[in-house]
């Protein structure tokens, strides 16, 4: 394994330490328990947004802490969900009295740890709700699996909800918005090469020189199928068409109900994309793929959307939700309404996403 790291067990902490000195004006880092938070938190009266998950997906989430996006991020070990004490401590640090929206990617570990965090927050008298992101169309059914994984839409949900929180949305409105963003986002990724987890030291999976993995998850989880190497255009076509042709997706999620003051099971339904839909197109690098290749993918994606009668009105292109050094990319298509569009355009000032300020 060749990486710019020291001891694998120090990687997360040392990387965060670098972020902390690099972006003193924007963020602070707390250790034991570990969380990254806005330098100016808490903001009285504003709902605080907290996300988190295993490390190794940088800049997500820590790089999105700041004005107009997250109030705090809880990084776990590499590819390992953070723990409830981190999430609670972060909530205590950033709560401005208007409650906490936890944005959670749908992985069994993240789910359970964040659920415990919500319970702990309530015990401490902090209002908190959890909204799940489960947008990975590579996972077909929700009955026989943990359900769709949370991937690219997470970044977009954090930006859009961050702007909304800034503009004074209350906890209930924010939860609704976040759920809506999730229900309108779809992603699919692919890998040209495996990532290598520092603590393990060897590639997570093996791909031959002429193989790629389609539908890969952001932890190197196996995808839909392993196929022979294809051209950039063909790969884009495969990813884009799977997303565009994705049919209704129905599943049950568990959310904390502020009204009922208990966990409730919610049945959610994603509707397929339709001609005329306005999209945010997000082409993401898995970490080891340079931006020039992403533009090549975007070019083809724009062509396909045009042919399909889908209108790309915004885009995001770059390494935003990565899988360590994995080579490959993912595409996320988020159907936008006027409200989401306005919130997407709103100012944001974080280490890794910045405009309008």
């Amino acid at each position: 394994m060749k990486k710019l790291i020291n001891k694998p067990e120090d990687f997360v902490r040392e990387s965060l330490a670098g972020m902390a000195v690099a972006h003193r004006d924007l963020i602070k880092v707390n250790y034991e328990p570990t969380f990254v938070y806005r330098a100016d938190a808490p903001l009285q009266g504003k709902v605080a947004i907290i996300s988190g998950g295993g490390s190794g997906h940088e800049p997500m989430h820590s790089g999105f802490v700041g004005q107009g996006m997250l109030d705090a991020a809880c990084p776990g070990e590499v590819f390992t969900s953070p723990t409830p004490d981190q999430m609670l401590a972060a909530a205590q640090q950033v709560d401005g009295g208007a409650g906490i929206l936890y944005i959670i990617k749908n992985y069994s570990g993240d789910l359970m740890n964040f659920e415990m965090a919500v319970e702990l927050a309530h015990l401490e008298g902090i209002r908190a709700v959890n909204i799940l992101v489960d947008d990975d169309v590579a996972v077909k059914d929700s009955l026989y699996t943990q359900g769709r994984r949370g991937v690219g839409t997470t970044v977009l949900a954090e930006k859009i909800c961050g702007a909304a929180a800034d503009q004074g949305y209350d906890l209930h409105q924010l939860a609704d918005l976040c759920r809506r963003v999730n229900q309108n986002g779809r992603s699919m990724g692919m890998a040209l090469s495996s990532c290598t987890v520092p603590a393990k030291g060897t590639p997570t999976f093996a791909l031959a020189n002429d193989e790629i993995e389609l539908g890969i998850g952001i932890h190197g989880e196996p995808g839909r199928n392993r196929i022979s190497l294809k051209s950039g255009d063909e790969i884009t076509e495969l990813l884009a068409q799977t997303i565009i042709n994705d049919t209704e997706y129905r599943r049950t999620v568990r959310e904390w109900s502020e009204v009922k003051e208990k966990w409730v099971d919610l049945e959610l339904l994603n509707k397929p994309l339709q001609k005329g839909d306005r999209l945010l197109a997000f082409v993401n690098s898995m970490g080891g793929t340079p931006i020039a290749e992403l533009y090549l993918v975007y070019r083809k994606l724009a062509e396909i959307c045009e042919l399909e009668g889908l209108q790309i009105v915004r885009n995001l292109i770059g390494p935003y939700i990565t899988s360590l050094d994995m080579q490959g990319c993912s595409i996320t298509l988020l159907k936008l309404d006027d409200e989401m569009l306005r919130l997407w355009d709103a100012p944001v000032k974080t280490p890794s996403l910045r405009w309008g300020v």
Binding site: V78, T80, T83, Q146, T204
Partner: protein, 212 residues
Amino acid sequence: MVTQAQIIEWLQVYANVIDHHKEELTELDAAIGDADHGINMERGFKKIKTLIGTLKGQDISGILKTVSMTLISSIGGASGPLYGTWFLRASAIAADKEELTAEDLLYLLQAGLNGVLERGKAQLGDKTMVDVLSPSVAAYEQALSEGLDVVPALRIAVAAAEHGLQETIPMLAKKGRASYLGERSIGHQDPGGTSAYLMLRSLLEAVESYKD
């Protein structure tokens, strides 16, 4: 009877077992998960080891509570909240008890299992630690009903756990990361089931061998 000292011994034995099986657990997780189960468990139980000294001054319920909190705040992933919940529920059962009778231990194992079921929502046959915990609790209960005492009943429970663990191999995973593999999850032993089996085996070892 299971004494406070045996509980401490159990934690010590299990922590060492995890240390020795770290690689094996991680390899099992590499096959159908994300290659960190051994690393996760070791992170948690390394912490427990450093706490053994302070644990010695607490009663059983207090010990189990501390273990729960420690695991919850240091393991992360799926196994952190699951084992954390297991110990939390176990701790509640042991409240105000100096020692645990054979029956107390049954309630403890049941409570732990129920905690895991509530937290993780897995069902029997989903290829998770439930497939190890659940048959072992049933076997222990059956053994007690047949009049056996702690050690022989635990022996039967561990044997059932081992059998349950073997049975995870042909299963198709429906919970946790392994579920994304679909058919490809078949033929591999569940990592979390493996650590759960080791936990019960360590308990038996501690109770069997450690007399104070």
